[in-house]
Symmetry: C2
Subunit: 405 residues, 2 copies
Amino acid sequence: PIDGQRLWDSLAEMAKIGATAKGGSCRLALSDEDKAGRDLFVSWCEAAGCTVTIDRIGNIFARRKGHDDSLAPVVMGSHLDTQPTGGRFDGVFGVLAALEVVRSLNDRGVDTLHPVEVAVWTNEEGSRFSPPMMGSGVVTGVFTLDEILDKVAQDGARLGDELVRTGYAGDAPVDHPMHAYLEAHIEQGPVLEVEGKEIGVVTGAQGQRWYEVTVTGVEAHAGPTPMRLRRDALVAAAAMVQAVQRVGLETAGDPCATVGILDVHPHSRNVIPGRVFFTVDLRHPNADTLADMDRRFRAAVAAIAEQNGVSAEIADFWHFPPTPFAKPLVDRVREAAGGFGFSHRDIVSGAGHDAVYVAGKVPTAMIFIPCEDGISHNEVENISPADGARGAAVLFETLVATAGK
Amino acid sequence: PIDGQRLWDSLAEMAKIGATAKGGSCRLALSDEDKAGRDLFVSWCEAAGCTVTIDRIGNIFARRKGHDDSLAPVVMGSHLDTQPTGGRFDGVFGVLAALEVVRSLNDRGVDTLHPVEVAVWTNEEGSRFSPPMMGSGVVTGVFTLDEILDKVAQDGARLGDELVRTGYAGDAPVDHPMHAYLEAHIEQGPVLEVEGKEIGVVTGAQGQRWYEVTVTGVEAHAGPTPMRLRRDALVAAAAMVQAVQRVGLETAGDPCATVGILDVHPHSRNVIPGRVFFTVDLRHPNADTLADMDRRFRAAVAAIAEQNGVSAEIADFWHFPPTPFAKPLVDRVREAAGGFGFSHRDIVSGAGHDAVYVAGKVPTAMIFIPCEDGISHNEVENISPADGARGAAVLFETLVATAGK
Ligand SMILES: NC(=O)NCCC(=O)O
Ligand SMILES: NC(=O)NCCC(=O)O
């Protein structure tokens, strides 16, 4: 029911903005590149006859009128921002598949009962500004607007100022009404590809706990300070990085444990590091197991600090519990995939998505498509055009079934 | 023979420039603060009747005429630049003790046979610009002038441009003649304090090998990427940091092994690090043992890379072999200390100093004084006024004996 070539061409066009050396994309949230990507998306929506609204956190909603336009819209969407060395499909696929659904509704003259919207959520990645999923978090009341406007980027910029600078400080209120929410996304992991499945029917997302750890030792000269007298914050932090890895390796089910940022102070070749800051990201589909990982992580950090004569502080930075999606909507995704004869399986999302926050407010479902070698958050991230078209077709069917005629 | 109070007051005055929150100093090489420190020093030298010359690498030489002014000068000196969170004595003590010697020669109307000079060497610390000991390295032919002028700082500035900007791009040639070189310095380690010795008679410096290591893995999403499929550059680098520590702990004698800088790429909380850069600093007084540490370090990095499915490249960054000082001059330092009745011991320098490079060209010796808790490269670095005065007195005696009457 959709035009796979048109979708593929739009993905290629968007990928020109913030294109990186190795074929990926860098459109950090509210950077010049993100603005350019948003502008292109808005121009496409207007060409498709949609009315575009920007809310106070910079989320974009492109609306196609419904038969009964007083009803809450069925919203499809995802995000256009990327990681620093991100791929061409993470987020973008969900946005442009949704746009392709709207274009196809136009082509076929389908008049849905509910209005239909395509949403672009602000800063899903959580890289330049952290935590992730800010736009959807504000709309669903997880965060207050003011706390998010005041977030400061790794590069020192304030989020509220960057919204103004890029022209996306809109005036629509952030309590956007929604009847239901659908998000198509690349899997970002290897499961569908390994099992040869065309569609992932996402039943929910695993829980996440993010932390910030600060290790404090004693700065001293790397030359005349005997090894036994040192309180090297980096030697201790290195043991903690390995402990985080062990928490991941020694947990049953599908655990994840990652240190993505580590900063050394004072950052001089001949000074024993006096302070190290690092971030930790723990994930598990099961709440009890995630709580157990949390306990083991904390105990390991405390023990390593003690052994190394340093102190370590753990701050809770962000978390969400394992989040199930709406069963009737998930069933509808499975039926749509089956109706087309696509091979499919149920799957739990390893990543957080805007859908996770939206699921706390309105019925929500997600559609996964395979990505090459399961690689994501990497410039070489890739999908096949046929997989993209299948995902958009399932989105079309699910949307029409949900928005009604 | 010197005025301990005047020396202490000058140290306190200099410490006001680039003063840090915890009582230390931040005068990174060729920063605004370094320039202000140099300007103050030059004004003091001119007030003491010296002629000041700047060479093309920014070294400052303040000259007090000799009885036979055609003879090569006996040079005393050290450096005014500091670490990012440095102390008030590392380098500064040697410069201002030398100035105090000149002031005392003036007070006493001593007419030395050789001219006497106080040298301030450019960028000894090697923190903002690396490697260390650049000014003395250019004067002694270890580095070419052009390669050093082209060095780029951590903050992106070019050394040659910073010399011009701060007004220290002098025109004197860099092959400065010297009859002998004497450097007073804080020990920067705990030996003198622990043994209750007032003066360290420095017989030479331990050898150093500095490296840069780049670990390359595969960036991937911290969520849906199973633990067993990861090629996490940081997990591997953390094991390497611990291996460097083991090389230090498992070597006999007085080994040092330090990782001072470690940078993670792409530096995002939810991306498995694809690349890590870190620096390594290995030291030992014995050349064969240092070579053995080098071998063990390389073998450990290669084995860890292999185990973790990542690649690791080691680049040699800087090195100097264990360097003995000139025996007759060292004997003279020991005699001067003994002559005053100061308790003393022979000691090998754990740090590199400008004296190490100068020792390759002219007879060289160093005088160490204790520092509190052996702590250096730290804002809390401290000495007692009495120890400072004793060090300057030994410098005075050794200088007079070397410069002749
Ligand atoms: N899809 C995605 O990368 N979301 C960001 C939040 C997360 O790391 O799970
Ligand atoms: N004294 C001193 O800190 N010198 C810098 C070179 C080194 O780290 O040994």
